[in-house]
Symmetry: C2
Subunit: 592 residues, 2 copies
């Protein structure tokens, strides 16, 4: 049975040594003293390890059960959900006026990583609710906020997002679900939505569905899509629950993973809905929270990689198999532990250097979102919007690969469900797909974000790399191990951008054929940048005579590994990109 | 529900245009006329698509059932197994004297790919039997051959391989299963074996277990391991079945995939066993068939990649989503098919160029095995032994990645079990683990095979690349698209070997830290070599005015893609390798 220990120390290092949150002028950051954040993380880690982790395998094995329109969650989920509510974990970064704790988003993200590592399927129930509540917070009328938010912030009621239909996922302009105005401000919603996470379950008094639909008679395609609030139970004026609305779960899906979360077909049969935001502006309303939602999914990639790594590491230390070729390490035992073997070590270093780099990247992204939301910092907003597809696509692609590496360390035991390593890969797999499949992330990055505001944000990113390297050069070892590789990788990224500019106008496929390569190389540059920042922080701590030398020296060694063994891949991505559309598009579809 | 179409045309192209089997002087190859191989492949394709494919999802969903020591295979498996027996598919490359058809191994491999694509879990029952029968064929006494082989070749009886124990897999020297001589030539076998594929099931009259065990009083460690034949039912002198032997299945495992194959815990409780081959030479006997067994697993990596690709391709042609940015392709439909999108195309080209390259690599390897076995060609044996860990490790690592890519094309539907794409990834995952985990393959390659016979075979491999490029250069397009990239990749591989030689002596970890990188770059060079050979064959066909221009032009385009977009990765593997042991081994185990 896998275990999980929250990476509290690493998170504290990032918040305070690397990101220096308390020196930020973002409103609320002054309260993030190390003692305070340490206490929050400690408590979150405790509930993660003690309450959520033991339910992870239960959720996977039992799954959800569908009977007569009702979905039953796995044994123990209900109790755990109550504990999450009682602990106030559901509204950490929500406004106090609706019952939240008003902490910055960066704290919600740090804590969210723990919950996701411990139990991704379970954490999705509150994650989806958070997303739906954020949409109502951003676009709802005062009345809508008052009606729904207090119960959603506390997770008395949960929320969902309804986008996909059987014939359309990415291309939502083809949507068929319709909304008929009733003259009283309400609409009748009719249609079928699929892949609705937490669409129906037994842990909440009400479920508030946010549903994309087309108002009858509105514009064709994506421009005619509006967003609606459709409660499972109608809410009376006094806040009590009324009649059941015309929405029901038709079935739940059998999936590769996240069995503990119900993935529902939702049938809307003239259900009463209320417009959220403006008519025909549904996509815009849905996408207000996109950066956060996608960062949250990128975080899931990290979270599964982290917990899988922790367990692989334990196994590598415990399992005795073979001898260290450079000399026996465990002379009293029948063999040495796996961790003596260089190829096992390589795999563990891949996992460790990814997880710590990804964690830094995500928290940095979260501080940019806080700067955008709490301070109205447009540059931060532009930068994080540019990087959002990278955070989502790169971290979930690589995060998944890391769970596979972790599973591999177990040998045959990794394939047996009892050991739990298979679940990490099966659960991690979904993050590459939902919230915009990773190919769509790459398209968003290359087809939209690069050129946004005349390329302003990608220029700013390159300038950030340039000035960072310039300002922090001078130490021989740091330059050699961190700044030089970062400079090289950053140049490869710039050369790719240049290739797109010069060749994409002629034929956009010259850019799009390299979109996934570009997203991945961008990810490596970001992780390289974060490792350089972590290295500087570690060096500063060592120079100042820290008492925790091992921690900071380990940081430096782990960073060196990432820079030396992973950053060089940018050259290959560049080489692929520079082959352009021709090799990719050479075949007629019929000749495949 | 996924479908499968056997790649008969591609196999024929490889056998006849690329490998020119009929011109070989390997005994039996003269019979492999195109008409004959075409007829065999056609029939094998038919039974694969019509009988095995429909049972693939059944096997996954139902799995095997264990009740009171009996294992029940999924619905339909028994009937299908009868059809395989009746068709003579179980003994294709076995000697005629034991009921086989005496075809070369290359034919068994070509047909085996189809069966594995169609239903890996099912095909394992006969695959394991084939392996056990091969061991008896190579090491058994005449009496043992006569007793077991006819029924094993026909699959009236099936076979197993028993190596792993709970505390040891790779490190078999730690084995505890013991064999006590009974004075009558037989032994009493006692111990527990785990992960025994097809260890118990309801499709055969008898199960012949090959079991590694230590003869009491023999040498310590791996040098005291012997191989035994332990039948489930004793075999009487007249060939009829006698009493049940002291071996039983204790439980079957819940696994990530290959649910249709029973993975058994086998308990030996004083079971009667017969020495196969020499005392204390069990590992050697087991490993006689290693090249074949590992090539067979590498083939499974290809097989799952192939069937996953076929279904991803169908979906990409059918599913309408979004519009071609260079101009609408399906004006009468609500959207264009997925295949118009460059990033989808990239993924499909990755899959197609891998599958066709891997198929060529495997068949080439199989011809080398035939040359070694049928003609006693020691050079062929050395070369294929060198490449065996590459075939197994590289093709299963990349094959798995390809199933993940295929699944990704389905978006959310790829995660739902009903669509079948998840099963391909879950089934493909095991091939990276069993028959020696891929890290062990890399260790075998770098730690053993490179230096074998003074490095003779790796030198021969480099000489083969050099002379091939030299002899086939001269055409401008072929040189630019194939020979130059192959030369470059081959040089990177040579440089890696040089690094190992120069630095491995000082510290073997300098070589072992780069073992997986070396295995992968070796794989890319081999696939590059095969693509260059295929390109030459395609060009020759086009030059001679073939009527099937589209097929050969597609070959060239697919090969160009692989050379341009995949071969450059060798530079990164070299860069990683040249960082040596330091970054990999920098941390103390306690500091992870």
């Amino acid at each position: 049975m896998p275990s999980y220990t929250a990476p509290t120390k690493d998170l504290q290092f990032l918040l305070h040594d690397v990101l220096n949150v308390t020196t930020s002028d973002v409103p609320g950051y002054d309260e993030l003293e190390a003692e305070f954040t340490g206490a929050v993380l400690e408590e979150a880690g405790k509930i993660s390890s003690e309450v959520l982790t033991p339910l992870n395998a239960v959720g996977d094995t039992e799954g959800c059960r569908f009977e007569n329109g009702v979905v039953y969650t796995p044994t123990g989920f209900k109790d755990a959900f109550e504990q999450m509510k009682e602990g106030g974990w559901t509204g950490l970064d929500m406004p106090e006026e609706f019952g939240g704790q008003n902490m910055p988003y960066v704290m919600g993200t740090a804590v969210g990583e723990m919950f996701s590592s411990a139990n991704q399927a379970f954490t999705m129930y509150q994650g989806l609710t958070h997303g739906a509540a954020s949409a109502i917070l951003a676009h709802g009328s005062d009345e809508q906020k008052a009606t729904y938010l207090p119960n959603m912030v506390s997770c008395e009621w949960t929320g969902t997002m309804n986008l996909t239909e059987p014939h359309c996922g990415t291309d939502l302009g083809m949507m068929r679900t319709k909304a008929e105005p009733q003259g009283d401000g309400s609409y009748k919603i009719t249609g079928q939505k699929i892949f609705i996470s937490a669409g129906e379950h037994d842990m909440a008094g009400n479920i508030i569905h946010l549903v994309l639909a087309k108002i009858v008679g509105g514009p064709e395609g994506i421009k005619g899509v509006s967003l609606f609030i459709v409660p499972k139970f109608m809410v009376n004026e006094d806040g009590s629950l009324g009649a059941r609305n015309g929405v029901a779960c038709g079935k739940i899906e059998e999936k590769m993973g996240i069995h503990g979360n119900s993935t529902c077909v939702m049938n809307y049969d003239g259900a009463t809905g209320y417009l959220l935001g403006d008519e025909h502006k549904g996509m815009r309303a849905m996408f207000t929270m996109m950066n956060e939602a996608r960062l949250g999914v990128g975080m899931q990639g990290l979270a599964q990689a982290e917990v899988a790594y922790q367990n692989a590491l334990e196994y590598a230390k415990d399992r005795l198999q073979g001898r260290d070729v450079t000399g026996v390490k465990n002379p009293d035992g029948p063999a040495d532990p796996l961790i003596v073997h260089p190829d096992i070590r390589r795999s563990l270093m891949d996992q460790k250097s990814f997880a710590e780099g990804a964690r830094a990247f995500i928290l940095w992204g979260a501080t940019l979102i806080d700067a955008a939301h709490r301070k109205g910092d447009k540059d931060a907003d532009g930068l994080v919007s540019l990087m959002t597809p990278v955070i989502k696509g790169f971290l979930t692609d690589v995060g998944y690969d890391m769970t596979v590496k972790a599973q591999q360390i177990y040998g045959g035991h990794g394939y047996i469900e009892e050991w739990g390593m298979s679940q990490f890969t099966r659960d991690a797999r979904i993050a590459m797909i939902y919230e915009g499949a990773n190919g769509v992330q790459a398209l968003d990055l290359v087809g939209r974000k690069l050129a946004q505001d005349g390329g302003k944000y990608v220029m700013a990113f390159f300038e950030l790399m340039r000035s960072f390297i310039k300002e922090n050069s001078g130490d021989e070892a740091i330059d050699r191990d961190f700044m030089e590789p970062l400079k090289k990788a950053s140049k490869d990224l710039q050369a790719s951008g240049m290739y797109f500019m010069q060749n994409g106008l002629k034929n956009p496929n010259n850019a799009l054929a390299g979109s996934t390569d570009f997203m991945h190389m961008f990810g490596h540059v970001c992780l390289g940048y974060m490792w350089a920042r972590m290295a500087l922080a570690a060096k500063a701590a060592l120079d100042s005579g820290t008492s925790d030398k091992a921690f900071y020296e380990t940081k430096l060694a782990t960073g060196r590994y990432y820079m030396a063994r992973h950053l060089p891949i940018t050259a290959v991505h560049l080489a692929r990109i520079e082959t352009g559309a021709e090799p990719v598009m050479a075949l007629e579809a019929a000749n495949f």
